[in-house]
């Protein structure tokens, strides 16, 4: 479904990504892990088309993404969340979820200001859809609340819902469990699994919380210094020597003496 081929990204003299290639199969939950600075969010930003790769290709269901603009990505079926929360803090939860469905709006812009029945109907439908999703995560009563005042963990779930509300085919989650308590992380894991099971979305997530990754992901891609260093099931990569070295360094006997 998603295929990166030889993606290289240079920022000036710095090579952030070096010939990164991997695939994400449909209906899977795939984890993208690696130490800080490995290039994981850069991969996301390339898929989102905030950056243009120095070389390489990114194909999604056969479409070459690097020919598209950032705002065309969600139309192809890819939605994402952000590491630092991309919610609009001074809009309500409902407004945020309505914006999540922005790509599905059919009423032409010129007619939107005329309060026509068609537009009102569409608006009602979008609210219903948003409400249903909020219901499923148990946050329906927060719909009219302004996001800014809400607890961090709740905001994370709202952002997740916003990405989901337009029924994407692929969901890119950038550290969905960052800053969450273990209870909240459990809940989030449940939501992610639920999204895949219920709506058939494929999930690619960046995470540092290893227990979450091990429990949730069917496949894991490991990156370090801009390169893919390992790929496999959670069990496989747990024992991969290169992965261990990337995270923990080499065992003491092999380290050079001071």
């Amino acid at each position: 479904m998603l295929e990166l081929q030889g993606v290289t990204m240079r920022f000036g003299g710095l090579k952030a990504l070096d010939e990164v290639s991997f695939r994400v199969e449909p209906d899977r939950i795939v984890g993208l892990i690696g130490p800080n600075g490995a290039g994981k969010t850069t991969v996301f930003n390339l898929i989102s088309r905030f950056y243009h790769p120095s070389s390489g290709s990114i194909r999604f269901n056969g479409i070459e993404l690097t020919h598209l603009s950032a705002h065309e990505i969600i139309g192809k079926g890819i939605a994402r969340t952000f590491q630092n929360l991309g919610l609009f803090p001074y809009l309500t939860v409902m407004d945020n979820l309505l914006l999540g469905q922005h790509c599905r709006v059919r009423t032409p812009v010129l007619l939107q200001a005329l309060h026509l029945p068609g537009a009102r109907h569409e608006d009602r439908q979008m609210r219903v859809r948003a409400g249903q999703l909020l219901e499923q995560v148990g946050l329906a009563q927060l719909a009219p609340a302004y996001v800014a005042g809400l607890p961090y963990g709740v905001q994370k779930i709202i952002e997740f819902c916003r990405a989901l509300v337009a029924r994407p085919r692929l969901l890119l989650l950038d550290e969905p469990a960052a800053g969450l308590t273990s209870a909240e992380t459990e809940a989030m894991a449940g939501f992610i699994r639920g999204a895949r099971d219920q709506f058939g979305v494929t999930v690619l997530l960046i995470e540092h919380d290893m227990s979450l990754v091990m429990k949730l992901c069917e496949r894991v891609i490991v990156m370090d210094f801009g390169q893919v260093i390992a790929e496999g099931t959670p069990a496989q990569i747990q024992h991969d020597p290169q992965v261990i070295e990337a995270y923990l360094g080499r065992p003491a006997e092999e380290a050079p003496h001071a």
């Binding site: 989102s48 088309r49 905030f50 950056y51 243009h52 603009s69 950032a70």
Partner: protein, 291 residues
């Protein structure tokens, strides 16, 4: 082509005045994110204070200038204190607040100093310098020197002193600066005071050339603004460079094309500058977003 060197030198002299006006404004903006609309009016009041001391109380020039600088500092510091409660307002709103201060100062100026245009003494009089056929008045030479000195001085202040570092820290991240122990309120007041004091210096040097009334400083302020855009709105050295460059270019347009076009030229320059290099010659990169 004989007039070219003269145009350039005169342009540099005029430009140094724009630079001086811009320096104070940029300092305030750098530290507190507020564009001080009242900057010109503060310079105006300070200059009038100097004039009153000289003409009305027969005080020597240097004392009057010191008083002007002090007045400028006080006005700036007061403005900062007055704006303190609105610290968290949208910055657009704060801009309007400085507009309010500008109007108030202008009204007060009219009341205390009158509405007529008056002449202002030059800092230095005497035979102008003549270098290779180019005439440079002593006053202009002083203005150039002061602009350069203050520009470099400010730069050094920000870079090498702890106060200056505090100002820079505040500019980048106010909260973090506070957590690091910076007394942001004191530094903020200091920046405003210093900025307005710089404006007073500018005023005192500009007034002899353009005469002094309620509005002359504002005209210069707009040019200073253009100079800041040219040099880079966040760079103090840029303000100086921008000012000098603006003065020269403006003079060249006036000399070779027509003086009518000078204002149009200034704004066209701003537009072109923004089109090809928004950050100005020396400014920090504009917060760009890709795609």
């Amino acid at each position: 082509m004989e007039i070219l060197p003269q145009l350039i030198v005169s342009g540099l002299a005029a430009g140094s005045l724009y630079a001086l006006m811009a320096l104070g404004m940029i300092l305030i903006f750098k530290t507190t994110d507020v564009v001080n609309f009242a900057h010109g009016d503060m310079a105006m009041i300070s200059s009038f204070v100097a004039l009153t001391l000289m003409r009305g109380y027969h005080q020597p020039y240097w004392l009057a200038v010191l008083a002007a600088i002090a007045m400028g500092f006080v006005l700036g510091a007061l403005a900062d204190l007055i704006l303190r409660p609105a610290r968290n307002a949208p910055i657009l709103t704060l801009l309007i607040a400085t507009l309010g201060i500008s109007l108030m100062l202008s009204a007060l100026g009219g009341h205390f100093f009158g509405y007529q245009t008056v002449s202002f003494p030059y800092a230095l009089v005497g035979k102008p310098f003549v270098i290779a056929g180019v005439i440079l008045t002593r006053h202009n030479a002083l203005a150039l020197g002061v602009a350069a000195a203050l520009g470099l001085g400010l730069f050094a202040l920000l870079k090498y002193t702890s106060v200056g570092t505090a100002m820079r820290a505040m500019a980048q991240n106010r909260l973090a600066a506070q957590l690091m122990g910076v007394n942001v309120r004191r530094v903020s007041t200091l920046s405003w005071g210093l900025g307005a004091a710089l404006g007073a210096v500018a005023g005192v040097l500009i007034a002899p050339v353009v005469f002094l009334d309620l509005n002359t400083m504002i005209t210069v302020l707009i040019k200073a603004f253009a100079a800041a855009v040219l040099g880079g709105f966040t760079s103090l050295l840029g303000a100086v460079v921008g000012g000098l460059l603006l003065g020269v270019l403006e003079n060249l347009v006036g000399g070779y094309l027509s003086t009518q076009l000078q204002t149009t030229f200034v704004f066209l320059l701003i537009i072109v500058m923004l089109a090809i290099r928004p950050r100005g010659l020396l400014g920090a990169p504009v917060a760009g977003r890709r795609a």
